[in-house]
Symmetry: D2
Subunit: 154 residues, 4 copies
Amino acid sequence: MSEDLESARKYIEKRSENASHADGLPTRFWEPLIMSGIKVDLIEPGRVICSMKIPQRLINAGTSLHGGVTATLVDLVGTAAIRSSGAPQLGVSVEINVSYLDAAYVDEEIEIEARTLRVGKAVGVVSVELRKKKTGKIIAQGRHTMYLAVSSKM
Amino acid sequence: MSEDLESARKYIEKRSENASHADGLPTRFWEPLIMSGIKVDLIEPGRVICSMKIPQRLINAGTSLHGGVTATLVDLVGTAAIRSSGAPQLGVSVEINVSYLDAAYVDEEIEIEARTLRVGKAVGVVSVELRKKKTGKIIAQGRHTMYLAVSSKM
Amino acid sequence: MSEDLESARKYIEKRSENASHADGLPTRFWEPLIMSGIKVDLIEPGRVICSMKIPQRLINAGTSLHGGVTATLVDLVGTAAIRSSGAPQLGVSVEINVSYLDAAYVDEEIEIEARTLRVGKAVGVVSVELRKKKTGKIIAQGRHTMYLAVSSKM
Amino acid sequence: MSEDLESARKYIEKRSENASHADGLPTRFWEPLIMSGIKVDLIEPGRVICSMKIPQRLINAGTSLHGGVTATLVDLVGTAAIRSSGAPQLGVSVEINVSYLDAAYVDEEIEIEARTLRVGKAVGVVSVELRKKKTGKIIAQGRHTMYLAVSSKM
């Protein structure tokens, strides 16, 4: 096998090692793993701001916040903002996108602000920005599009 | 506080409860949490296929694969495919997007296929598709754009 | 005004000069401007392939296909594919995204392939790829998400 | 041919009819077609605001601004904002995405605001919002990611 293919294989396999902690974990563990430690700083109609200090368990192979965590925060804090605008309790994700702009490191305080762009009967869209609390520097910006009329057929 | 704002607040707070398991977890736990149990089915230049059986710990408040997990799989399996095309070992995410097309439930076998669209000196782009193994039905499609010339200034 | 601000202003203003041809043009001229010269090569349920030779009028300030044209092709050929899957005649765009992968030059033959990922009652999603006809090299890949139940409130 | 396939074919073919005006048009006609009539309202480092009255020639098969025009405005006004932040004169699009939130009709005044999120040596990202001038209602929000170090290999 060529060097490139070997490097690709190792990239995956290294990430599934040392996972002995994973197997005994409770059901639906994904969300508490991220959201433990998050604080709600502001809720008003169409706008939610949360903050957190980046814990070691959520960093990537380097020393900064994992991109998958960022995407999940766009999902979850975005959903909360759509609810704050009066959307129905149910809803499913249609699209999530994230631009990664800067790294945020272990123990940095970050702020996650979600602002709804549209909340209709069927479609809700929210813009979410992650920033460093100290400097206001933007770490990531994303959007989350939801289908809200889940009682009807999607 | 109005009912909508209360619903938004509860949405966040419910997700940070029962997180006692989270605090003692090892550093960089995010990736093994997902990748434990993943298998590499195929690696060729520019193409990687992995598969996994959806574990209970990775589902959302319902009973299906969490959207944040899907986004992280687009990130990780996509990165492996970019490496298989001969990209340098380092690289940072510039953009990740995901369209959510269907739900995948606990214990379902899924397949994640990443195919590079472009791997240049500076920018790599990969398309990633998640499918149900039994039926081939598409669960999600996303793209991951990376900046690869990290030794130069980004 | 600093040099950077002057450069930004000129970038916009240069693009609105020499537009004397624009003012007398007929209503709804945008689509024929692009679609004139396009050929339908294949239509089957959920899949449409078109081709065109890149005309001079659609290039950017350099000599290659304008990114806005690419985005419009993702829109239009994608919509056709969603219709070929049996979606209702009406529908509105919810999200369009495009990754630009390679340049395509004046007089090059390109191929636009749209493949539906999901067509439900309310939401349709289609993946669209632009390729060089001669070599198959990918120029761009995008997705178009539509809301289809327009008779209901969106 | 089934009804759905026929509908898809007609969707494309109708758009390439009545295109007699298109063939004699000058080279690089795409940008002036949109930008004719646009005004620059504000330029400061990292921020550009333009406005325009929607002309008949830029509407879709209905009576509102064409989604492809919106995507092109995200491209062009976004590029101007990246330049206003001191980016080099050259640059190529890596990714454009747009969420469509509301319709804007013929003769409505709209405002396009671009705000840079990051302008580095190699990668620039800008957020662009289209709004109705009268009410401030958001029509669309998008992002444009550019690769700026074009003199180096991409």
